[in-house]
């Protein structure tokens, strides 16, 4: 057994390509070598922007041998009358790679056939690898690939060197005009290649030459060096995880370089300065104790630490140029008020067929008002009073205005944040400014929601308008395609209603949002019924997903679907009640009894079901009378509990039904010959199901243990 190594030396790969490529290399090695019957004990990957490396440990000397059976033509074609092999038999033997005398006759379902039995000998590992490795390289997929040389091979970036060893020997092959060899690519462009004797020595040899090929080791080294650099600068590091991760994949040997900038720029908004530092230059901001910005940064260079001061000065000059650009944009923006910026959105399209962003802003303002009027009579006045309406509308109206600002055009990620900044400069109410900052929340699936109710209502209106518009023009998400991030918008809407405990009918609100588009065109008006149906279904899917993430089982969620969108906070309480009572020992039995009742009612003909009212005098059997008594005795209790939204207590009453229900199904035949008796029993079952329907339809619950 020996170790094998493959290093694909490339020109600089984009950071985002590297991890997925390495994962594919490992999977492909396992799959392709197992198909070749070449055993190995472990696959390890390492990588930098300039090398994708696969190390295979404990590779067998040879692949396993294998017996291969091949069935050929009918046995009638074996030999002719003279006992000579027929041309067909000879041809088959030749193609199967055996001598004709080695052919055998076997019986198969199709009759007697000729069979060749071939023993495929194991092959030396180096030969298998020489065949597999180039194929493996060719199979790696990238988000985007290119051609660069005569053979028109495609890869994520040009390949310039290939190291391939089995033990100490080169695994020889050619690919994309390159012959494999025993040297790894050097550090940086133009560096001398590094001779590698054996896979085991690869990582340490590279490390001696300042290449940290191991990704985790590089991440740790970078993280530590950044902290040190910040400490030396006497500040805290704003350790942005996404930026750190990107730099791990942009460097072979990360070296921090700290620098300063003119404190005069600190008069610009912190978010703007941070965007310049992080997004434009990939620098880490430094923070003071109070987490305001320190006039300094830590950049990361790749390679060795020669000429650090020169690099630092270079960084500082570029940063100054970028800050002065940002300042120019910011000052241009301060020349107009948000209202004026909003008017400019008249020439910015929201979506083809859905008008401008200005029209969107006006619709969102109207919808926010509608939402406010829906909710305000039903919530505590401490939360919301009529004077808040003006503010909710103001937030909704101005929420998109910063799209017309120079800063947001240059830094799209600052949408919302800049709206808040400009609102303060315009002298808007501070609460409006805060609302604008939070309007686009949540920025990702689990990110925070608007913290304030006024902002939450405006934000909800914005999301519903986006959903309504795109559903109307048939742009609902399909499969993994969701170019307008509608899933996030819908989940955001659901979360706002849930977490703010809004007593709002979300389906009706979505309907209102759709209606606001109708006057635009006859097509949109005609699309209304379809969009209404699809959007309600979509919102319910998102609500289910939110509940599932909260740890609820899919069947529990189905049990509370009835009426859920009409009042999501209440639906959440109902769901919690179902979930809490689920482990009760009697619960599963009752649930299956309910399912049985539901099935019986489903099978009943319309004529049977029409027997709506229960007539107590017709209850003849003891078992049905006691069930009716049991239902009657808890009915008032259950209704009280439902009225008080004490769903768990309400549902607990169910347990009292366990024995009467069991007894009923054991002793009573529902489908009695006497139609009146039968109908009466169906009515009894219907009243049983009705009893809890405002809490949950527990007949949906699967038997077995609840998901936690």
């Amino acid at each position: 057994m020996k170790n094998a190594i493959l290093e694909i030396g490339t020109e600089n790969l984009p950071a985002r390509f590297i991890s997925p490529a390495l994962a594919q290399m490992e999977a492909l090695a396992k799959q392709m070598l197992s198909a070749e019957r070449l055993k190995f004990s472990q696959a390890i990957t390492l990588g930098t922007p300039r090398r994708l490396t696969l190390i295979l440990k404990g590779v067998a000397e040879k692949s396993d041998s294998e017996e291969r059976l091949r069935t050929g033509p009918s046995a009638k074609l074996f030999k002719d009358e003279q006992g000579r092999y027929t041309p067909q038999a000879l041809g088959f033997a030749k193609s199967a790679g055996v001598r004709p005398e080695e052919l055998r006759v076997v019986s198969t379902p199709k009759g007697e056939m000729l069979q060749a039995r071939l023993l495929v000998q194991g092959e030396p590992a180096a030969r298998v690898l020489a065949r597999v490795l180039p194929e493996l390289i060719a199979k790696i997929q990238f988000p985007k690939s290119l051609e660069w040389e005569q053979t028109r091979f495609r890869f994520g970036r040009p390949i310039r060197n290939i190291l391939a060893l089995y033990g100490r020997k080169v695994v020889a092959f050619s690919l994309a005009g390159i012959r494999s060899g025993n040297k790894a690519q050097g550090l940086g462009v133009g560096a001398k290649p590094i001779p590698i004797a054996e896979a085991e020595r690869y990582a340490s040899k590279l490390k001696d030459l300042c290449i940290i090929a191991d990704i985790d080791a590089r991440r740790q080294a970078l993280s530590k060096a950044l902290e040190q650099a910040a400490r030396r600068a006497g500040a805290q590091l704003d350790k942005d995880e996404a930026l750190l991760e990107e730099i791990v994949f942009l460097t072979e040997h990360p070296v921090p370089v700290a620098g300063r900038f003119d404190p005069e720029y600190l008069c610009l908004p912190k978010a703007l300065l941070s965007s310049v530092l992080k997004k434009q230059l990939k620098f880490f901001p430094l923070l003071k104790e109070d987490s305001s910005l320190e006039p300094g940064f830590v950049g990361v260079r790749d390679g060795v630490s020669e000429g650090q001061t020169q690099v630092q000065e270079g960084y500082e000059r570029v940063l100054t140029a970028r800050f002065s650009d940002a300042q120019f944009f910011f000052q241009r923006d301060l020349e107009t008020r948000l209202e004026a910026k909003l008017r400019r959105l008249g020439s910015v399209t929201f979506q083809q067929g859905l008008g401008s962003m200005l029209e969107k802003a006006e619709r969102v303002e109207a919808l926010a008002e509608w939402l406010f009027r829906e909710i305000s009579p039903r919530v505590d006045l401490k939360q919301l009073s009529l004077e808040d309406l003006g503010r909710v509308q103001r937030i909704a109206r101005l929420a998109y205005a910063d799209l017309a600002s120079e800063v947001v055009k240059e830094f799209p990620e600052l949408q919302g944040t800049m709206g808040g900044v400009y609102a303060r400069r315009d002298g808007e109410d501070e609460r409006v400014a805060m609302g604008l900052e939070e309007f686009h929340f949540p920025l990702s699936a689990k990110a925070p929601l608007p913290a304030r109710l006024d902002a939450a209502l405006a934000s909800l209106a914005g999301k519903l308008d986006t959903l309504a518009g795109l559903f109307l023009i048939g742009q609902k998400p399909t499969g993994s395609e969701d170019p307008f991030a509608l899933r996030r918008a819908a989940a955001g809407a659901v979360r706002i209603v849930l977490e703010r405990q809004l007593p709002l009918d979300l389906e009706a609100a979505a309907g209102r949002a759709l209606e606001l588009f109708a006057p635009r065109s006859a097509e949109l008006a005609a699309a209304l019924p379809r969009a209404r149906r699809e959007l309600a279904e979509f919102l319910w899917q998102r609500a289910s997903a939110v509940f599932e993430e909260g740890g609820y089982g899919a069947d529990e969620i189905r049990a509370i679907q009835g009426g859920a969108l009409e009042n999501l906070p209440r639906a959440a309480l109902r769901l919690a009640a179902v979930h809490a009572l689920r482990p009760h020992p009697d619960f599963a039995a009752i649930a299956s009894a309910f399912k049985r009742a539901r099935n019986i009612l489903k099978q009943a003909t319309p004529d049977d079901a029409q027997a709506g009212r229960l007539r107590p005098e017709l209850l003849s059997a003891e078992a049905e009378r006691s069930l009716w008594e049991a239902i009657r005795s808890i009915k008032g209790e259950v209704q009280d509990k439902v009225r008080g939204e004490n769903f768990q207590e309400g549902l607990k009453e169910l347990v009292q039904l366990k024995s009467p229900v069991d007894r009923f199904f054991n002793e009573v035949l529902v489908m009695d010959k006497d139609a009146a008796v039968k109908n009466n029993r169906l009515a009894l079952l219907a009243s049983l199901l009705d009893l809890f329907k405002e809490i949950a339809d527990i007949s949906h619950l699967q038997s077995g243990v609840a998901a936690n």
Partner: protein
Amino acid sequence: MTFQEIILRLQNYWAREGCLLLQPYDLEKGAGTFNPATFFGVLGKAPTAVAYVEPSRRPTDGRYGENPNRLARYFQYQVVLKPVPADVQGLYVRSLKAIGLDCRKHDLRWIEDDWESPTLGAAGVGWEVWLDGMEVTQFTYFQQMGGVALDPISVEITYGLERLAMFSQKKADVFDLDYNERFRYGDLFKESERQFSKYHFEDADTAMLLRHFDDCEAECRRLAEAGLPLPAYDMVLRCSHAFNVLEARGAVSVSERTQLIARVRALAKKVIAAHLEPAPTA
């Protein structure tokens, strides 16, 4: 190192590497890629190795000569190589050395940036090259021109000469650059920046430009059909520049913008088709 010395050294370096040194093409264009030596040169099988300085006009980037980093006209140094030498990154790094920049003492970064020119129907895969954080070069493996897949592939190296000079001279304002020992960049071009910004943003006759666009478009089609792709291509450049000025003038709405770009792209494709057509046997 002065601006003109940088140009001289790059010329010498690439001449030694076997490049044909061409002169700028005498029509306005947005980038060196529009020079016919690149536009036509990357098509077909014939090897090419050319280098040239190209003045590039970006009307919307003008700032009346008042912004230290933005210009309506600036200079690119453009190198096009087909086929691509295996050591092309090394060739580039040594060219920086030739203008006094030793990459070992700087932070040289290759940041993913796939270049596209919607008006030329051109696309490539490559990087922005950052030198101590400053973007100094666009490095692109061309994959397509005028919508045609290229074979063999060419590499295009586009140096931003002002950026390199600012880096080399440690200047924060482009107008402070030493063009040579006697003149600063501002002495030579600040007034032109002011006048052209005023023209592009305030003065340009949009009706005339739209007419000009229509005329050149018609002429381009006529010439392409007459088997004269080279003069037809001049008309593409004229349309492209007219469009750029119209855009700076604010005379183009979002949907018109898309349409005008599509019209120029259609012309570029037509010119390429005419160019690739086998010459009629007389």
